[in-house]
């Protein structure tokens, strides 16, 4: 039941958000701001008509009007790919350094670094890594990123790294706390009293009790990644789905953009769930 309510709320939120640019009017004279709802009916009607006619409508790119459906496919894949790898590396690094390797000396220093980094807001990290990329280019001549939209692979891998920063820090902190709490439970004491090795306990006993927490917070991690994806695609001018949202203030492209972002996040969410399921099936025998 709750999932349906959630879906309805998100749907309404997207519809309303997309409409705001066109119905928010600044009254230049009295300098106050008001929402002109009258236009809302017209907008939604027009949107429905477009969908009914089977096309995703048109959007303004610079001076020419293009069909959304023509460009959306490649952008969709780029954003999906970036987000998927970002969140996947967040979960993998989080599990590795948060649980399985956290007790070794060398990982302790890395953990300390992660802890310090997690206090810095994401956007500062992004700007710093951007500056770093340019410094590398200036110093070594190696082109780390390309700012032209058609940069190809060069254009994708660095944004992926940037998108992964915030979710990784969040997942690492979450798993570190959960691991510390779970390893204080009684059944871990029973496992130790049975003579099991720490590594075995981490896999067989600790992991399965922490998995529900990973799944519970997966939505938060995905939404964090989306937030950063917007900025990164804007800064590094990656031809992703956010192009449709930032390009113009038209209702049509923004709504389509937001819905496809929602679709991307669902795909990423369920593929991570699948990866976790495969990991559990593979490593932890029933």
């Amino acid at each position: 039941m709750r999932i349906i309510q959630q879906a309805i709320f998100i749907f309404l939120l997207i519809i309303l958000l997309a409409a705001i640019p066109s119905i928010l009017i600044v009254n230049p004279y009295e300098l106050n701001i008001y929402l002109d709802f009258s236009q809302l009916g017209h907008l939604y009607g027009q949107f429905m008509k477009e969908l009914a006619s089977g096309s995703l409508g048109t959007y303004q790119l610079g001076d020419q009007v293009r069909f959304i459906s023509a460009d959306i496919k490649s952008n969709f894949l780029i954003s999906l790919f970036t987000l998927l790898i970002g969140v996947l590396s967040a979960v993998v690094i989080g599990l590795l350094f948060g649980i399985f390797l956290s007790r070794f000396i060398v990982t302790r220093f890395f953990n300390m670094l992660l802890n310090i980094l997690s206090t810095i807001p994401d956007f500062i990290l992004i700007v710093f890594s951007l500056v770093l990329a340019i410094k590398i280019y200036e110093v070594s001549g190696v082109r780390v990123i390309s700012l032209r939209p058609d940069g190809g692979a060069l254009n994708i891998w660095y944004p992926m790294v940037l998108t992964a920063i915030a979710p990784t820090l969040y997942m690492f902190k979450l798993l570190a706390v959960q691991y510390y709490q779970t390893s204080g439970e009684d059944y871990i004491r029973t496992a130790v009293s049975k003579g099991m090795r720490v590594n075995y306990i981490n896999f067989q006993h600790v992991y399965k009790n922490i998995e529900p927490f990973i799944i519970a917070d997966l939505t938060k991690v995905v939404s964090l990644a989306i937030g950063n994806l917007f900025i990164i695609e804007y800064l590094l001018n990656v031809p992703g789905i956010t192009k449709f949202i930032f390009q113009s203030n038209q209702f049509q492209p923004i709504t389509i953009g937001l819905f496809s972002m929602l679709l991307i996040s669902l795909i990423v969410y369920f593929s991570i769930r699948l990866v976790l399921y495969i990991f559990k099936r593979g490593f932890i025998y029933e």
Binding site: M1, R2, Q5, Q6, A7, F9, I10, L13, I14, L17, I20, P21, L24, V26, P28, L31, N32, I33, S102, R103, F104, R108, N111, T119, I120, P121, D122, F123, I124, I126, V127, F128, L130, V131, I134, V177, Y179, Y180, S183, G184, E185, I188, R189, V198, I201, N202, V206, T219, V222, S223, L224, I226, G227, F230, I231, Y234, L235, F246, N249, S265
Partner: protein, 326 residues
């Protein structure tokens, strides 16, 4: 006999830095060497030409140098820091008071309404800055919009937008406490809901709410930063069509960072570094303060783990020992 095992460094550095920031916020503008309108005229001084953009520490006049159009960076910072701190503090104050009030009371209900939970999850799904982007986008570029109205408008929208996440975390904490036995005992003594909240639940949460308050300030600054990277500056953006430059009216620090983004590819990257590093200092001082308070308040922590996890807390928590009366 309660020896402090290791000094709580993060608390003391946090307090020191925050105090400096507050001092700057109050006396900043009056200490600024130049007004916001003065610009550096290209002048000739004992053998060298001084022309904007002037790198930092080259002349005593403009200690931190000037930006492309000659405005003194130090003055801009001293004027802007007041806005950054005031705005983030105001937003946090509004959202924390409303969010905590709602959260505390809803926590005492026997059954939390499913609709509220569904709304909270849905809301936490959409990144906040995106919602703000849509609300602020169209009006930030209005030429003749009065910066104070825009600032006020941002404060209202930003706090309303982030209230659900506060409600959800406070509600969960309050729910957990209101199931404990001493609440049952108070109910039996005839305590009504208000007394339960303010005499029993709130004292338990005082410390964690304070830590949350400080962390939320960092969240707001992060929000402003994210918006600034997309050329939306709090208080309005001036867009110079000819040189395609975005300028913040209120010179608010994250606005300066956003405006200076263009300098990444040129040799005047210092125009970006200075506000960025200052922003880093601001957020770290609040994080240090929050982390220090957390160590201080952590009276008892849960069981020690049976397996070496590598996360044993460094700072021994100091149990709050009341004044021994005998």
């Amino acid at each position: 006999m309660n020896r402090l095992f290791s000094i709580n460094y993060s608390l003391y550095t946090g307090i020191l830095l925050t105090a400096i920031l507050i001092f700057l916020a109050i006396f900043g503008p009056s200490m600024a060497p130049h007004t916001l309108t003065e610009t550096l005229r290209t002048s000739y001084e004992n053998g060298t030409i001084l022309a904007p953009p002037l790198p930092p520490f080259t002349s005593k006049e403009f200690l931190l140098g000037t930006d492309r159009s000659g405005y003194d960076i130090l003055s801009m910072i001293l004027y802007g820091i007041r806005y950054t701190l005031f705005i983030s503090f105001a937003v946090t104050l509004i959202k924390m008071t409303t969010g905590s009030l709602i959260g505390l009371y809803v926590g005492t209900w026997k059954k939390t309404p499913q609709l509220l939970e569904a709304f909270e999850n849905a809301w936490s799904y959409v990144p906040l800055f995106l919602i703000l982007y849509f609300f602020l986008g169209p009006i930030t570029f209005a030429e003749n919009a009065d910066p104070n109205v825009l600032v006020f408008y941002f404060i209202i929208v930003a706090s309303i937008v982030s209230i659900p996440s506060i409600v959800s975390s406070v509600r969960k904490k309050s729910k957990e406490i209101s199931t404990s036995t001493f609440i049952e005992a108070a109910r039996l003594l005839g305590a009504n809901r208000h007394r339960l909240v303010w005499r029993h639940i709130f004292p338990q949460l005082k410390e964690s709410l304070l830590v949350m308050f400080i962390l939320e300030i960092v969240q707001v600054i992060a929000l402003m930063g994210q918006l600034a990277l997309m050329n939306i500056f709090i208080g309005g953006t001036i867009y110079r069509r000819d040189s395609q430059i975005y300028l913040s009216i209120t010179k608010e620090i994250s606005g300066l960072v956003g405006a200076a983004r263009g300098n990444i590819y040129s040799d005047t990257t210092y125009i970006l570094y200075i506000p960025l590093i200052l922003l880093l200092i601001i957020t770290s001082s609040f994080s240090l303060l929050a982390n220090g308070l957390k160590n201080r308040f952590q009276s008892t922590y849960q069981r020690t783990p049976w397996v070496k996890t590598g996360f044993e807390p460094r700072v021994r928590p100091v149990r709050k020992v009341m004044k021994k009366s005998e």
